[in-house]
Amino acid sequence: MSHEPDNVNATPPPGAMPDPLAEALARLEPAPARLDRDALLYAAGAESRRSTIRLWQLTAGFLAAVGFMAGMAAKQPPIVYIDRDSPPADVSPKPPAPATNK
């Protein structure tokens, strides 16, 4: 004799008589989960704030980039020093000016 139910192609109708074995099994309470509830909630809180933190990070990075670009744009042109070949200073005594008779 087969233990297969008569109608195996459909789920039981809502008014079907519950199986006593299933009821007895369902009365067994699952062992409590050894979840670290505090750690889980802490991590959940951090995860829920992650998008906000990321937004602030992006905003700060954008503002830093804008500031850098503005600083580069406003920067004065560099001072260029050019060495010129200047003639040596004339240190020879000047000849006396000719005397004029008025």
């Binding site: 233990h3 192609n9 006593p20 009365r27 309470e29 062992a31 989960a33 509830r37 909630l41 959940a44």
Partner: protein
């Protein structure tokens, strides 16, 4: 989804989800915790929250089991820890928790996960079918066959053929 809602979900479904994950892996708490964190990361909660949780836990537990196999550290954790599946019952007329867990551990994994999801997770066969990428009829067929196998092992009375 805020931490308060997550706390409520943990309190309501944590134990059943852990029992469900225990069918595959030896670290069910880690899998369940990861599933809850994945839920928090979602911008909008899924429509079918509980079946979604079961699906994520199932995938995570299977992945964890595969990883354990790769590391060669598995030791048939499901059967090994069967005695820890349920709280020992004080009801003398009820089933013995250890005996029931032992009988459950003897079932094929596909059958056992359906029974666990239906009896302790409260999922309908349609929801279980979505979780397993199967059909509701197949899930019910496996559920019924699993109950019959448990009935034979536990010596319980068949409701459709009452003794006279």
């Amino acid at each position: 989804m805020g931490p308060e809602q997550v706390a409520d979900l943990v309190d309501r479904y944590g134990a059943a989800l852990t029992l469900y994950a225990r069918q595959w892996c030896a670290c069910p708490e880690d899998v369940v915790q990861t599933a809850f964190l994945k839920l928090v990361r979602l911008r909008t909660p899924p429509d079918n929250l509980v079946p979604w949780l079961y699906r994520v836990v199932r995938n995570g537990a299977i992945d964890a089991s595969r990883a354990a196999h790769r590391r060669q550290k598995y030791e048939s954790a499901a059967a090994h820890e069967a005695s820890q599946w349920f709280v020992p019952s004080d009801d003398p007329t009820g089933l013995d928790a250890r005996q029931a867990a032992g009988a459950l551990s003897q079932l094929p994994t596909e059958t056992r996960e359906i029974i666990v999801a239906h009896l302790w997770g409260g999922l309908t066969f349609e929801q279980i079918a979505q979780t397993m990428d199967s059909s509701a009829a197949t899930c019910y067929r496996r559920y019924a066959a699993g109950l019959e196998a448990l009935r034979a092992q536990l010596g319980a009375v068949c409701p459709t053929n009452p003794t006279t």
